[in-house]
């Protein structure tokens, strides 16, 4: 895919399977997106299978973005992802907001 550094943001849609079985490819996907864009927007609307590894990956993405001063925004958490977050103890919206940089309106 052509690389366009002037593009202001890049939206990456996570695949349906973000469980441990597929997490390696999701990880590669995110790292690749990180390599090419200043600003990264990750669309979590299609995530259907999520587990501890998905949460960790998103946390690490957010943390890495923060450390490198590159904005990372997560949008539209799917129900399945929300469930997994809740089960892992990210029980309240406040807590999710604290750990995951989100953009609620999705634009």
């Amino acid at each position: 895919m052509a690389l366009n550094p002037t593009e202001p943001k890049w939206s990456l849609r996570l695949p349906a399977d973000c469980s441990i079985a597929a997490i390696r490819s999701v990880y590669d996907l995110i790292r690749e997106a990180f390599g090419r864009q200043e600003r990264l927007e990750i669309d979590c609307s299609s995530v259907d299978k999520a587990d501890v590894t998905s949460i960790q990956l998103l946390l690490s993405t957010a943390r890495t973005g923060e450390a490198q001063g590159r904005p990372v925004v997560l949008t539209s958490f799917s129900q399945s992802l929300r469930n997994t977050l809740r089960r892992a103890g990210f029980a309240s919206e406040a807590m999710i907001d604290q750990h995951f940089p989100q953009k609620k309106d999705g634009t």
Binding site: I20, A21, I23, R24, V26, Y27, I30, R31, F34, D51, V52, T53, I55, Q56, L57, L59, S60, T61, R63, T64, A67, T84, R87, A88, G89, F90, A91, H99
Partner: protein, 702 residues
């Protein structure tokens, strides 16, 4: 390693787990009260379930889950594992194995039937105790402690997710015990570049507001307790006075009492101590804050250290890599032999020294490599326990199976080759050897038969024996059968030992009826051939009414042997040194007895073969012919050669398919000067010599 198919890895892992599971189930039959066995069976099941689900074996996961659920009451100690229950559990295990290895061959109906059986057994003897009992674990008596719940700190080992364990499920189970406040700790999450996406980085801090038993919490984590750090401390009511149990704990901790890293094991004992040390309470108070309590970590740390030791102790290597390594070492040994030869031909001292140095290194490298390929034979023995269990049930002959020498190590290829022969021998022992219960009782024997499988080192060989305490071989019947088949002339004079050898004759069976197990006459000859292909030998000994012992003698390795290099005419040959007993000169007196070909070795007559004749060597023989006495078991044969050159580290190269009909050679090797030498097959030569002797007997008798 990344190129290996993960499903294949799972299959391999599962097959090891099945061995653990099977072993545990069989042991459980003998020691129904052993909790450790139940737990290890459960852990194996649980891992199969978890990783099965992870690799897409959904059927495996769901069936295993059902199995686990049904077996749960055994784990809780509510019912005893009976023999019937264990048989069903073994069947369930086989079904899971089939689901993994050959899903096409399985049928859901079979699975359901097994589960039904299992459920029937576990619920038959008493009304079902509500499973919720654990969940609503009885509250600790208020008099003992004012405890309002537990504070847990969960830290998993990084590989735990790969095993199929899911911390979220554990948290959920924990929540079932009572109101739970779960706080994820995200400090450990690395940046993307340093991340292994499949590792577990999250940790959890959990406050469980339920006055449940510590055991209930232990139960939640029982399958992962080896792979995590669980710190448990009681949660106190805010108003309650400072907790004494924690103080107690500081004294108790150094002694590793509990299996689980559970520092509060002494909770029950605490109140007793509470009074005397009440004055010290003020001091202990700050320490007893669950969050800053440093002590509960001690046990997990120890556990971790122990784990690390274990981790370093073994490395998993693909078998083919070891084969490759062995091949390379083989080549090295050949190259070294050439170097040595070159060096000895020249006069350069420093080259000679280097050649010697390399010879030493090569031989120790060879030994180390062979050592790395060694596998304890116990892994093989384990498989037969199931065989004996099933056969003894099918034939209704109670049999005790005893193994010894499991630590004896053998080359891994040998272990693989040994499996089939041993199955035959053990089957024979149970089917033919052990009499039925009535016959045993009539002979004043114990009702339960006994089969011993043993392995022991003996010089450069390993002896594997299968011993039963049955009726022994029926020599008269074997003889009759041999006469009937025309193998011997009626009335020929043979020792018992010679008669027993007919059992190894192809198609020879004395069983009057063909059972599902044996009597088809394929078996012993195949066993013998397999063992001889491994350059081993097989021997039978029997005592009427007391049992039969079959002894397998096996070389330690198949790849490199010490050999004796000899010359016959122009050709050079190798005799495996382990078979060589002694070397003597062929005296003129022996030479004269040309027709008889017997050698007088200190009063014993030993038949000999002239290798020149067998190899059809041209030219005239050397003046002083040498005789190498070789032996297999009890039989000795002399081989007459022109010259004995010396010993030689022989890297065995197998002969091609084109030479498969060559019998007297078992392989070839490359000598230091680059020429090839053939390796003599000792067992075949001994047989050849014996048949010559027999022919002579017959012609003399005629």
């Amino acid at each position: 390693m990344s190129a290996t198919d993960p499903t294949e890895v799972f299959r391999q892992e599962a097959s090891e787990l099945f061995e653990v599971l099977e072993g545990a189930l069989l042991d459980l039959g003998l020691r129904p009260d052993d909790r450790e066995l139940v737990d290890s069976a459960f852990r194996a099941l649980h891992t199969i379930k978890g990783s099965g689900a992870m690799f897409g074996f959904d059927k495996v996961a769901s069936f295993t889950h059902e199995f686990e659920t049904a077996f749960d009451r055994v784990r809780k100690g509510e019912i005893k594992p009976t023999q019937e229950l264990i048989s069903v559990a073994l069947a369930a295990k086989d079904y899971i194995r089939a689901l993994i290895e050959d899903p096409q061959s399985t049928d859901d109906i079979i699975g359901e039937a097994i589960l039904d059986d299992l459920k029937r057994f576990v619920s038959s003897d008493q009304p079902v105790v509500p499973v919720a009992e654990i969940a609503e674990a009885p509250p600790v008596a208020p008099a003992e402690s004012k405890q309002a719940g537990w504070h847990l700190y969960l830290e998993f080992e990084s590989h735990i997710l790969r095993n199929g364990s899911n911390p979220l499920d554990l948290l959920e189970d924990l929540c079932k015990l009572g109101p739970c406040f779960v706080v994820p700790i995200t400090d450990g999450i690395p940046f993307l570049d340093e991340m292994e996406p499949e590792d577990c980085y999250l940790k959890w801090d959990v406050k469980l507001h339920a006055a449940c038993d510590k055991d209930a919490i232990d139960d939640v984590f029982m399958f992962v307790q080896d792979e995590m750090k669980l710190t448990l401390s009681p949660l106190q009511e805010v108003e309650a006075p400072a907790p004494v149990p924690l103080f107690q704990l500081h004294d108790e901790e150094p002694a590793p009492v509990a299996e689980m890293p559970a520092p509060v094991a002494a909770a029950a004992a605490a109140p007793v101590v509470a009074q005397p040390i009440a004055s010290a309470e003020a001091k202990s108070e700050p320490k007893s804050d669950p969050k800053s309590d440093p002590k509960p970590d001690a046990a997990p740390v120890r556990r971790e250290e122990a784990k690390q030791d274990r981790g370093i102790a073994t490395v998993r290597v693909q078998a083919e890599r070891l084969d490759e390594l062995m091949d390379r070492v083989g080549e090295l040994v050949i190259a070294q032999a050439r170097l040595t030869q070159l060096a000895s031909a020249g006069s350069d001292l420093s080259i000679k020294m280097i050649a010697e140095e390399i010879e030493r290194l090569a031989s120790s490298l060879r030994d180390t490599t062979m050592g790395a390929r060694m596998v304890p034979i116990g892994s093989l023995f384990g498989r037969f326990r199931r065989l004996v269990h099933d056969l003894s049930r099918d034939l209704s002959k109670p049999v005790e199976f005893v193994t010894s020498g499991e630590d004896t190590e053998l080359d891994k290829t040998m272990i693989e080759c040994l499996a089939d022969p041993l199955v035959h021998l053990i089957r024979n022992a149970i089917d033919h050897g052990i009499e039925d219960t009535a016959a045993r009782a009539a002979n004043g024997k114990t009702e339960q038969g006994r089969i011993e499988l043993a392995a022991v080192h003996s010089g450069a060989q390993v002896l594997v024996t299968v011993k039963d305490n049955g009726g022994g071989l029926n020599t008269a019947r074997i003889r009759a059968k041999a006469e009937e088949q025309g193998l011997i002339a009626a009335g020929a004079v043979l020792t018992d030992h010679e008669i027993h050898q007919f059992l190894f004759h192809p198609g020879f069976s004395t069983a009057q009826t063909i059972s599902a197990l044996s009597g088809r006459g394929v078996g012993m000859d195949v066993v013998k051939r397999t063992i001889e292909n491994m350059r081993g030998s097989i021997d039978l000994s029997t005592r009427p009414g007391q049992g039969t012992t079959v002894t397998l003698r096996l070389p330690l390795t198949l790849a490199i042997i010490e050999g004796l290099l000899i010359r016959v005419g122009e050709g050079r040959y190798i005799i495996p040194l382990s078979a060589v007993e002694e070397c003597v000169e062929l005296t003129a007196e022996d030479e004269r007895s040309r027709g008889r070909n017997f050698l007088n070795v200190r009063g014993n007559l030993v038949p000999f073969l002239r290798l020149r004749e067998i190899m059809s060597s041209s030219g005239s023989p050397d003046r002083h012919q040498k005789t190498i006495i070789i032996s297999t078991g009890e039989t000795r044969v002399g081989l007459v050669a022109d010259q004995i050159i010396g010993n030689h580290q022989t890297v065995i190269k197998s002969l091609s398919k084109l030479h498969s009909d060559v019998t007297i050679f078992s392989g070839a090797t490359i000598l230091g000067d680059g020429t090839a030498a053939l390796i003599l097959d000792v067992a075949q030569l001994v047989t050849l010599a014996q048949s010559k002797v027999e022919k002579q007997h017959i012609s003399e008798a005629a």
